[in-house]
């Protein structure tokens, strides 16, 4: 029997696509793609002659090859481009081996560094990538080559998945968490637990004790920020500092990271989830050109 109650997926974030209006004709250009299959989201980025031409960002489905195909098809939507027009494709991310049309796979660490270098500029030296299921601190040089990295994938705290769990628990849309976490009179201490399972029961207890949702969210964002700052401290933070991944869109976490570090992160004027796929598309261009030079005996 139908209950009549509509189930709301509070964790659901918006999917998106974009075409660069400044590139009117891609035909005849070098077309490369980066496909980043993460645990929760998939991005396809298409470059023409080294410039971003189109992208899409979708939720990763249960089948990674399908997610890769759907993402690239949606990125090409309305452009007249088909998969046959891709000169070289790089697969990256957790599901990189599952991109059926990839010419090469590259780790997300290298791709994020290269992508951040393109998106934020060559002054970026430290990148914090807060993904769906892990969190990475990456150091790079002025060319976007990785000099050091560290990763935490032991637990979901400090990741997109952890944030989705809290969104569902508190019935708050994941995209509203950042703003809501500042609607408080005074910053509460972070929830003490760094494990998302315990943080969940701790949040439930705080609500029972009369804490508002806003206050619980503030404490949770604070705990997430605290946890990733500990990760960053292993190798230090060299400026410029940038945050990529889905959590970079959550001001509640970003502002608290900035305040704990005493450093401001570079402002992003693009979707921060794209960095890995952008890096993939740039590598794709380099690999294609390298192979072409080799063929010509140069």
């Amino acid at each position: 029997m139908e209950s009549g109650i509509k189930q709301v997926d509070y964790w659901r974030w918006s999917e998106s696509r974009w075409t660069n209006p400044e590139i009117s004709d891609w035909k005849g250009g070098l077309v490369t793609a980066g496909i980043d299959i993460g645990s929760t989201s998939t991005q396809a980025v298409i470059f023409v002659d080294g410039k971003m031409y189109a992208y899409s960002s979708i939720r990763t489905g249960s089948n990674s090859p399908d997610s890769a195909l759907n993402a690239v098809k949606w990125a090409m939507d309305g452009t007249g481009m088909t998969q046959d027009d891709l000169n070289f494709t790089v697969g990256t991310g957790y599901g990189r081996v599952n991109v059926p049309f990839a010419d090469k796979t590259i780790t997300e660490i290298s791709c994020h560094a290269r992508g951040a270098n393109y998106l934020y500029g060559p002054t970026v030296r430290t990148i914090l990538d807060m993904g769906g299921q892990d969190c990475k601190a990456i150091h790079c040089d002025e060319k976007g080559s990785v000099t050091a990295f560290m990763m935490n994938d032991k637990c979901a705290a400090g990741t997109g998945r952890g944030m989705e769990v809290i969104a569902n628990l508190l019935s708050v849309h994941v995209e509203d968490i950042g703003d809501m976490s500042f609607q408080i009179d005074e910053e509460p201490p972070p929830v003490s637990s760094i494990c998302v399972i315990f943080a969940k029961s701790e949040a439930t207890n705080l609500m029972r004790r009369g804490w508002s949702k806003e206050k619980v969210l503030a404490a949770y964002c604070h705990a997430m920020a605290f946890r990733v700052v500990k990760l960053l401290e292993r190798e230090g933070v060299e400026e410029d500092f940038a945050i990529t991944g889905g959590i970079a869109k959550n001001k509640g976490v970003v502002k608290r990271i900035e305040s704990l570090l005493g450093i401001k992160a570079l402002e992003a004027n693009f979707d921060t989830q794209l960095a890995g796929a952008v890096g993939g598309a740039i590598f794709a261009k380099e690999f294609f050109e390298k192979a072409a030079r080799k063929r010509e005996g140069k």
């Binding site: 590259i106 000099t147 560290m150 990763m151 994938d153 032991k154 292993r234």
Partner: protein
């Protein structure tokens, strides 16, 4: 490239750092045989150089894996992995 593998939990921070700068030209990659638990694996990096990484299935339990090698408080510290790397490219955080 300095790769930090490991984690931090309530009891402390457990990271093994491998600086892969010399791995590609390191003959025999002695660290892979020296580790009694076999946690180091050869892998091709993104630019087709053969380097050494900490195995993925070991990264989240380093504290217990390395416990047998760690000296008791006050004992001398000469871990087989650290000793095997003549270039001094392997380091433990604990």
């Amino acid at each position: 490239m300095k790769a930090h593998y490991g984690y931090e939990d309530g009891s402390g921070s457990y990271y093994i750092t491998v600086n892969t700068e010399y791995c590609a030209t390191c003959d025999g990659k002695p660290c892979t045989d020296a580790c009694v638990q076999g946690i180091f694996a050869r892998e091709e990096d993104d630019f087709d150089d053969e380097i050494v990484v900490v195995r993925e299935d070991a990264r989240n339990s380093l504290k217990s894996i390395c416990a047998a090698c760690k000296p008791q408080i006050g004992g001398s510290r000469s871990l087989p992995c650290e000793v095997s790397c003549k270039q001094g490219m392997i380091a433990h955080s604990w």
